[in-house]
Each structure stands twice: as C-alpha cells, then as structure tokens.
Symmetry: C2
Subunit: 387 residues, 2 copies
DNA sequence: TGGTATATGTTGTGAATCACAACGAATACT
DNA sequence: AGTATTCGTTGTGATTCACAACATATACCA
C-alpha cells in the first residue's frame, strides 16, 4: 500500500513511467508526459533517474516528419531480463525475456517421464545457470514460473497440478534457493491472460477473459479492472471447471459435467482421425473438414463452450474473450455458431459489447506472461533494482 | 487517475483518512496514523483540513483507561448525508444515510401499479424534496439508486429491469435534473455486496461474493481486490443467471436452467403451504418444518445453489460467500448440505478457506449500499465537497 | 536560403507536502 | 506526588513537482 509520503509519490511516478514504456512500448518523453499528466521537467527527472538505474535507454528520435523539436525515444533496456519457466508434461521450457517484452532465447528440455517437482526445480536451476553463463552482460531481475495447475501465489506452492501429478509441492521457494533469484509462480492460463492483456488481443481492455484449450485440459485466466484476478490465495480463474452439462464425464479434477470434461482436444483429434497433431495441424484439419461427423462433435463442443462463456460473461461483463489453443480452432471453424451458443445463455446487455477473438500471441505467450510476473516487483518499485 | 502531483498526494491522503473513518468507524488520531503509516503531524493537518470542510468532527476521547494522553476521536459528520433510492415492484423506498453509516430516516411510498421509470423518477424527486425541507441543516452529497436490474453505471441508464418492466430507461440523468444533485445508479445486489463488504459479513475481506434471494429472483454482486466488480459497463455479478441444470424452466431473463429458474422463493412458499410471508416468516417456517416434502424441495434447491456457488468460487476464489434473503434461510436450514453440494463441484484449494455465511445487514442493506455509491465521489476527493 | 512557427528538453525558482525532533499536555501507575 | 507513557503541536528541513523563461531542433513557407 502506498503510504502517502513524498518518497512514495516519487516511487509511484517512477513506476508509472517504467510501466508505461514496458507495456506500451518505447515512446518519446513528450508522450510520456501526456500519458502521465506530469510536467515536462518532472518527466525529464524521472527518465534520467530510470536511465541511471539502467532500466531504460534513450535513442535518437525517429525522423517521422513532424514539426517541432524531435523528442528522444525512451525504451526499456533489453538487457534487463527475467527468466520464464514452464514445466509441462513432455518438457520444461526456459525463456529469457527482456524488459522490452522480447524473448531473447528459449531452451526446451524434453523428458520421457514426468519429473517430480523437486527434480523439475533442479532442472530449471541448471538451465538458468547455463543461460547466465552464456549470456553475459545481462541484469537478471528474477524468475517467473507458469504452472499447469493451481498455485498459491503467496509462496509459490503448487497446490494441485493433476497432469504433472504434483500435489502440495513447493516450487518457488526451492528454485529461489537454488538460483539465488526472486521467484514467483502462478497458474499458466492466468499468466496467459496477463500476456494477452498487455501485449496481445486485449491491449487497452481492462476486462478480459482468457481461455486456453490444450492437450491436458482447459485453463482460464481473468483480468478485471486492468489487473490479474487472483482471488484470495491465487486460485481464481478456473473456467475449465465450470459446470455446463448434467453428464457423467469427469474432468482432470474429478468434477462432472464441466467444460473441461465435455470439450476436449482428444475428441476432436479422434473424430478427425488424427493420432496426434500440433496445434497448427489441428487448426488446419478442423478448418478443412466439415463432414457431418466432425460437424456434430464441433457443434456439441461449441455449444458447451458457449454455455461456459455465457456464465463467465454474466459474471464478469468483459470487453474481450480471448480463446487460445484448440478453442481458437473451434472459434475459427464456425464463429457464428459460437456466438449463437453464447447468446442462448447470456444476458443481452452483458453480451452486446463483448468481442470473442482468437489469442494474438503464439508460442511465446507463457514466456511473456511468466516474465511479466517476474518483472512485477521491479515495475512496482523501480528504485529497488539490484544485482 | 491520480496524476502523481503533490496536490494529488494531498488529495489521496485526505481521501485515505476520510475513507478510513467512513468504513472503519470513528477512531482516534493515533489510530489513523497507525493505519495510514503517516506521521502524527501530517495526520493532524489532514484531520484539521477535513474538519474545516465539515466532513469530520472531533469528540473527546472515551475514558478507556489506557496510559498516556487521550486522543480525540475523529468521526464522520452524521449531518453529511446521501439519499438512497430503491424502486421495487411494490414500493419505492427513500433513505437518508449519514456519512457515519447510520440510516437517519426511511420513507416508503407504496403503489399498486408498477410505475414507469419517468414516474418513479418524479416520485423519488418529490420524496427527496420533502426530506430536504423537513431535515434542516443537512449537507447533501448526492443520490444513490439501487435498481433491481442491469444498470449502465456510466450514465445510470436502466438497461433491463424485468420485474419493473423497464427497458433502456434513463434514470440517473432525469433524477439529477429534477433534484439538482449528482446521482449514480447501480444494480441492487451489487450495492448489497458493497454494503456487506464494508459494514457486514465481509469486513476486512477483499474477495467476496454476495447472493440475494428475493421474491422476484436472485441477484448477485462481486467484490474483488476490495473493489466492487462492475465489469466494462456495470453489468457484472449476475450470479442468478448461471447455468446449473439442463432443465427447461426459464428465469426472469428467459434463460433456461439457471440458478434463478431452479431456486425460487415461490416454490419454497408453495411446499410450506404459505400464501405469502415476510422474509423472517419464511425463515422461521423453513427452520421449523423438516417434513419429507419440504426436505425434498430444499435438497434440490440447495444442490443447485451449491453448483452455482461452486462455479463462482472456482472463478473467483473468494474469502467469503454471503447469502441474503431466502438463500440465507436455505443455508440455515441445512448448512452441511450446502457445503456438501458446493464441494461436489468445486476445486479443493479454492474452497478450503471460503466461509459461507448469512448476510449480516438487515433491511438497511440497500440503503447503506446505495448511499455508499453516492458517497464515492466524496470519498475519492474530499476537497470537492460542495453545497 | 533564410525566417517563422511548432514542439520539446533544460534550468532556476517557488510552492506544497511530509518527516523529524523538541516540547507540551493529559492520563495511568506506583 | 512523582514518574512513565502516550499523543497533539510547533518549527525546521528535505524532497517533490509546477511553472516560466530560455535553448534547441525540426518543418514549413516565401
């Protein structure tokens, strides 16, 4: 909580400027002044301070042909980086992401047997150590972890990651111990929502619902009022476990009739006659095949998806609903059918302004989201930049 | 948006102090300092300013027997008031609520035929004018309206209030015109959530779900991160229209299988053999009668209520779920059954810390919530206190 | 080619805010 | 009655941001 001192005012202004160039990209000093409402002299002082901290750099103005004195472009320093860790059932991915939002490198370490949490921590620590050796001159801010399961955000304890068979496994704490870096962890779909909100299909929208369909189920994340909705402990956003039908099929958490139980990638692959497929291959196959069997399965899944979205829209009144993974393929296959399904269960005012769109960020989605989590402390108080 | 100036800092600190004594009740200067983290001299200056604006008063310290110099008690001025308007199907209620949170007076104007929105506006304006004449020496801040339906918060347009048969009827604007006061409007259950959060069962809890069961249906409101969740236009929180079953019964909005369609006060009255009942009478009758017919109906309704709550808990991970109206009676009738029903559809981590409790505020709930809405501008910027 | 208008960074001054230390005031404890 | 404790008040100082004047750099126009 900002405690209302002049010192805190300075911190808040530094944070506002850094956050602006982080989430809106490089911009001139003059634009920063217009966005923040601060005086030119104040903006100058703040930018100088941030540059002195090594967090932003100033480049020559681009010759854009406008009248008046050119304004140097302020941009976040790409050498200020965070590590993004994403353990999955087939591999652990480590990404190095700059404060400019770009992914500098990605390392993917595949495994045959799903590791335990402790082993995954050690693997991540080794990959991080190797990256730090190879990439010289970087200033590492911290580590963000995207976990396919429920994570207690206060201490990064993985409460339940069914596909990894992790239950109440500490993750952030031992990884911080092994790397000497601050580590924060959260649910993967929640971080996807954060990334789409800041850099993807939800830019400029304060209320967003993100829903991702993967091989192992459906995850969701919610942005309300421009902030990631965590709930009291960090478990919010579980849209995959919304009840949509009275059936007996169960989902990965053992709940019956939920979205995740009724809408599955495996069923789509099955009816398409595919043994396995990359996300792009599934997308293409679904767009190509409009046979009756496929149509029937898609229609049923789209109906259930619409019911779940309607529930979420009734509760949250978002600007945007972003669909990722095979849910984006369902949307592309028949956008009108999904809209109809939503409209059958939604209150008219809540739905009139909502846009249902495919995710805009590709494979880097989780890396960007997890890095965003790791940058959060820095963005909240740039003066604490260390190491 | 606070624009980071020193002037804004002062405003924010004034607002923080006023908000503190508004929502936490009268407290000593020393306590204010401890809560805000501000220096004693600063607190003194802020309190003096607020007192000069006529927003707070200082009383002698209560002799509580503690060592040290007694600290004068700062409390919001009860003569600073807001009007709370609540149009319902049988009557329009006007309440006068002080900044100290107390309801000074309530006027209830009953009607046989449901009025149109324009007539209701005129009725409210007449009641407000009469109250202003009778209660001298008041400083009126504004008007808050609790509407049983969906309201666009930006301009107070009633989008859809099915029980009043109002559709896209302006309300706040004409009432502001007629009274010369600032008017803000919102959904009644959302304001109920706000009231329970600040003064009722959800004090100190940043994440709360409020669900109210009335004669005309089920309304809901959501508090996340300590703030009322409005969504992009103000329509968020419609928990009554969450799908819970595959049935064909429809709710007030024409949606099928929703909580509001499946869980009704009318069915409870019917099985209890009551033609009509006050909320208290229904509550008592339900607690008294555990016959098989009643048990069956209650069991079914509790099951559906549990499903809806599970959905909301999975999405929002709240600290508290507050039930009002006949839903509180259902809870009292068999708390364990409701807990079991929730647990059948909820993810374990999300549910472990949640408390399901009856609403703590009684008939004044909506008056307090609507007044809170009207006070919002004042609390955000006390220096703008006028007239 | 030179002058003007426009837009922006920089510098110095001033006003406002809050922190801090010293002091005074009012109560409880011994 | 004296002392310790708690808290309000006052005066001083440090920090921050606003504002005005000036300097700088470009586009536009004649």
């Amino acid at each position: 909580m900002p405690n209302g001192t002049t010192e805190e005012l300075r911190r808040a202004n530094l944070a506002a400027v850094l956050r602006l160039v982080y989430s809106s990209g490089a911009m001139s000093r003059a634009l920063i002044g217009r966005h923040t409402g601060l005086n030119r002299s104040t903006v100058g002082s703040l930018v100088t301070t941030l540059a002195g901290l090594g967090l932003v750099g100033e480049h020559a103005a681009d010759p854009n042909g406008r009248v008046g004195r050119p304004s140097p472009i302020v941009q976040p320093d790409p050498d200020v980086v965070a590590f993004a860790v994403n353990p999955e059932i087939d591999a652990l991915t480590l990404a190095v992401v700059g404060l400019d939002g770009r992914v500098r490198r990605t390392v993917r370490s595949e495994y045959d047997d799903i590791p335990g949490a402790a082993d995954a921590v050690q693997l991540a620590a080794r990959l991080i150590a190797a990256s730090r050796r190879e990439l010289a001159g970087l200033r590492v801010v911290g580590v963000g972890v995207a976990v396919p399961g429920q994570v207690r955000t206060s201490d990064g304890l993985v409460r339940n990651a069914p596909h990894l068979d992790w239950h109440d496994e500490p993750f952030a704490a031992p990884l911080a111990e092994a790397t000497g870096l601050p580590v924060r962890a959260a649910n993967d779909a929640a971080l996807g929502a954060l990334a789409e909100h800041r850099f993807g299909s939800g830019r400029g929208c304060d209320h967003l619902i993100y829903l991702n369909g993967g091989a192992s189920g459906i995850g969701g994340g919610i942005i309300t009022g421009g902030h990631l909705l965590t709930g009291t402990a960090g478990y919010a956003g579980e849209l995959g476990h919304v009840r949509v039908a009275g059936g007996d099929t169960t989902d990965s958490a053992g709940l019956r009739g939920t979205l995740e139980a009724e809408v599955t990638r495996a069923e789509l692959l099955s009816v398409l006659g595919l043994a396995r497929a990359t996300p792009d291959e599934l997308h293409a196959a679904l767009l190509a095949d409009h046979g009756p069997a496929v149509r029937a399965v898609v229609a049923r899944q789209v109906g259930h998806l619409g019911t779940a979205l309607a529930t979420a829209i009734n509760l949250l009144n978002p600007d945007v609903v972003t669909l990722g993974g095979f849910l984006a393929a369902l949307l592309a296959h028949d956008p009108d059918a999904l809209a109809d399904a939503v409209n059958r269960s939604v209150l008219a005012p809540s739905s009139e302004a909502v846009r249902i769109v495919p995710a805009a960020l590709g494979t880097d989605l989780l890396a960007i989201g997890a890095a965003g989590l790791a940058f959060e402390d820095l963005l909240a108080d740039p003066a604490l930049a260390l190491a």
